[in-house]
């Protein structure tokens, strides 16, 4: 298919996405020009959290696995960056502190943790899965606050941000980090989209719809669940690493169960089961927090009320409004397959 043909198939939503990314790319220039550089780090943070939320979306929205301990992988990524930063020099070569090494290491660490937890957890029934992931999350939290080498209760500052290995390009500048985060955020979400429509994605979502039947069809169901759990954990770890760099600080607060709860709420708010759900939810959640905290110290309660409203009246979060354009499968998918089916009917395909 030619590129022109491809782009002519873009739906409204996809054009809106392109527009948003372009706007986001232009933001730092605007913000710096108007002396509002605060927004750069704010939007950066939004994108980072969106990655974490979307990783949870993979589990909750597409796999019906409600993990109440996802903050553990978020935090693991952050602490991994801290560990690498401390070890680079004495234990590890200096180049371990570049983003090309440190961040994949963080993903590896988080993914490995997810593997260990997942091996035990994915075989457990739905409601107990919530509790067992909560328990594991707490374990990691207590371990983190127990270790003085990582600053116990208070956490620890990160001496400096990761180096890029590219001369002239330094993450010390908020703007430069912003662009890296933007690229990663876009890539992660494109990857998510590809994943959920891929063969793996279809099988994994099938498991969420009817697990028993998938087994009876011949799929080793647990393997798919575990794979998704590890992938989600690894990307939460990436978000954690980015957060550590952004804040230049790593605190156990990232690991609290309340953080896990917030991630969960954000997924539902934004629309579980929609690729952009994580982004919508994070924008609203963090935006609300900013706005509300300017007006009242009791903004937690306001968010609480919002959540209750969402639970009782909401159908599918913000992305649910998008439902006219997006369904279980995108229109494009269906249109393409219809063409194929017509071809198949006439025997022309083969």
């Amino acid at each position: 298919m030619t590129l022109r043909h491809y782009f002519s198939e873009f739906t409204t939503v996809q054009w809106a996405a392109v527009g948003t990314v372009t706007a986001a790319a232009l933001l730092p220039l605007l913000a710096n020009a108007t002396d509002n550089s605060f927004y750069i780090s704010f939007v950066s943070r939004v994108m980072i959290v969106a990655i974490a939320v979307s990783s949870l979306n993979l589990l909750v929205g597409y796999g019906a696995m409600v993990s109440f301990g996802h903050a553990a992988y978020f935090g693991m990524g952050a602490y991994a960056v801290l560990m690498v930063a401390q070890a680079a020099g004495p234990l590890l070569p200096e180049w371990a502190r570049t983003m090309w090494v440190a961040w994949p290491l963080a993903m590896l660490a988080a993914g490995t943790l997810a593997l260990l937890v997942g091996l035990v957890s994915v075989r457990v029934e739905q409601v107990y899965f919530i509790m067992i992931t909560l328990g594991f999350g707490q374990m990691v939290y207590y371990l983190a606050i127990g270790l003085e080498v990582f600053g116990s209760d208070n956490g620890m500052p990160l001496p400096s941000r990761a180096s890029t290995g590219i001369p002239g390009f330094s993450l010390a500048s908020d703007t430069q980090l912003y662009f890296v985060v933007l690229v990663l955020c876009v890539l992660v979400h494109l990857g998510l989209r590809m994943l959920v429509h891929s063969r793996f994605g279809l099988i994994y979502r099938g498991v969420a719809v009817n697990e028993e039947r998938m087994r009876a069809i011949g799929f080793p169901v647990l393997r798919y669940r575990l794979a998704a759990f590890v992938i989600a954990g690894a990307f939460a770890g990436l978000a954690g690493a980015l957060m550590a760099e952004q804040n230049r600080y790593v605190a156990p607060h990232l690991l609290e169960w309340t953080m896990s709860g917030e991630l969960l709420v954000t997924v539902i708010l934004g629309g579980a089961g929609h690729v952009a759900g994580g982004i919508y939810g994070t924008v609203v959640m963090l935006g609300l927090k900013e706005l509300l905290s300017a007006y009242t110290p009791y903004w937690h309660a306001v968010i609480g009320v919002l959540i209750i409203a969402l639970v009782y009246f909401g159908n599918n979060g913000i992305a649910g409004l998008e439902r006219q354009w997006t369904r279980w499968r995108t229109e494009r998918e269906w249109r393409l397959s219809r063409n194929l089916r017509d071809q198949a009917k006439t025997g022309a395909a083969l």
Binding site: V124, L134, G304, I307
Partner: protein, 304 residues
Amino acid sequence: MTILVLEQLLNGLQLGLMLFMLAAGLTLIFGIMDFVNLAHGTLYMVGGFMAVVFVSLTGSYLAALPLAVVATAIVGALLDRLLLHRLYGHNHLRQVLATFALILIFNDLFKFIFGPQTLMLEVPAALASPVHIWGKFHYSAYRLMVIGVGVAVALLLGLLLTRTRIGMWIRAGASDREMARAMGVNIERTFTLVFALGAALCGLAGALLGPLLSVHVGMGESIIILAFVVVVIGGSGSVKGALLGALAVGMLDTLGRALLPQAMRQLWPGLSTDSLAPALAAILTYALMVAVLFWRPQGLFKTS
């Protein structure tokens, strides 16, 4: 040394019984209404604060205690009737979200009413001095009372469930909702009753532990997770399981916290165990839950 161990054993018993009060309500709510109530810790907090309020109103802790329990039960009943009953038996995710929201709301509400500072609840003068148990072993009279109340509650709860008509309704609702409804049991009223009962137990625990652990916003958050661990270990819907699980967790947690640092210092002298040991003790508890879930996913005493 023995005195230390004895003291910790009694402390563990006390924690276990208080955990039981939280877990019993939680397990009944989970077993009967199929409802995951994260806000259970909030009800515990309500109990603590109500005790403070009533002590300042009546001047007497012993008078404030039953009042605090009743007040918390009322709060629980209201939450059930006005908000939560629609989520029973449904999507667990929604329940988790809604009760998580309640935690946020109540925390801010109480911060607004009482301020963010920790409130002190005085141990009643009559129980302030330690009691001589045997030999050189003294133990806080107040803690003994707490243990006593805990044991009494456990016995009463057992009697309530097995010997009374209300208890029969509750157990009927637990095993088969539709059948119970068909037999004329008013299910909605039973649910409210169960929720209020759970709330009352939380309130009692909160009021009892207030003088020991101090009353502050968010005091329920650490203990609620422990209570969930107990419910998972004991099996949903099983009060007996909740008791055994609570005692096990209470002992494990207390003894772990007290003895583990010493044990670790023996093995690795020089290791700074101040912050690590409590962490490990806590981890032990979660490890226990994970082990139970793995080996027996339905808990030790799952009701059918």
